[in-house]
Symmetry: C2
Subunit: 145 residues, 2 copies
DNA sequence: ATAGCACCTGAACTTGACTTTAGGTCAAGG
DNA sequence: CCTTGACCTAAAGTCAAGTTCAGGTGCTAT
């Protein structure tokens, strides 16, 4: 059993955030001892899932919904699985978008490297994509597809 | 030259968002014809960069700063390059975090698949990580590292 | 016994990125 | 002529996710 301060340390989250999550219903049925929150292993696992679902792009409300399904037991396994499948798909799509973003950023790094060597963008702005070095063209093409 | 409505179509962005970007200084020196915004190729390229930098996690203010560097010319190449290097690093880190998130989500998909087959989580909650099938243990380990 | 912590609450405030509203200009079509 | 549609502005409103504030409880070390 941990206090809110200990959990704050363990997860590097402000105490205010943990209280906010609690208020939003993300720790259903958390114990208290004379008013003071007691975080058990169940709440720590909840927090791990919260961080995962948040990073997957889920809102607090929807995470609350998930926590309610957990309380409801075996009858909600299929909803929970559907949720994780949907988040998985969303994250896979986000990673594809980020890969394009990354290729654009790498292209821009090359671009400004070149501009700095040349002292101006003149040569670069006269180029057409086919003039780009092959590895750079790959980045450019993926970023603009 | 394009009107705001045409650009809104081309980029699937609400007209209000384009006006907001303009107000925030993201299109420095954009032309107007009797009050009406005229988007040229320069503004379209600016928009492509805006979308890239936004996805990389940059705030509007910082994108504005970048646009000001662009106006300032060759003397800011190195700042601009440093910005893209920093965003590149940030996106690479974000992709690592997302890969962990994805492994957690895949693990949870397996978990609920198994729970549905068993009809309960009893067997799962008695398991220690070493009991997990090898590919599942890999997901679990990466997600929790 | 009092000062200092760590905890508690409800309510107000903040931030970023838009969106909506209310009111106005101007050109083209019926 | 007058309505419709695309454009304009400034200002207010929205939303999510916290954070901050003001005031309160209760243990413990000086």
């Amino acid at each position: 059993m941990y206090t809110i301060g200990q959990v704050s340390e363990m997860f590097s989250l402000p105490v205010s955030t943990l209280r906010y999550y609690d208020k939003e219903g993300l720790f259903p049925g958390m114990e208290r001892q004379s008013g003071i929150r007691k975080f058990s292993e169940r709440e720590l696992e909840a927090l791990r899932v919260i961080e995962c679902l948040k990073r997957s792009g889920l809102e607090i409300k929807e995470i609350k919904q998930f926590m309610e399904w957990c309380v409801k037991g075996a009858s909600t396994y299929s909803e929970r699985k559907k949720l994780f499948e949907a988040r998985r798909k969303a994250v896979e799509e986000e990673m594809l978008r980020l890969q394009k973003t990354l290729d654009m950023l790498k292209f821009k790094c090359w671009y400004y490297d070149t501009a700095m060597q040349d002292g101006s963008e003149d040569r670069l702005s006269d180029m057409i994509p086919d003039d780009l070095p092959p590895e750079i063209k790959k980045l450019y093409d993926n970023a603009h597809s």
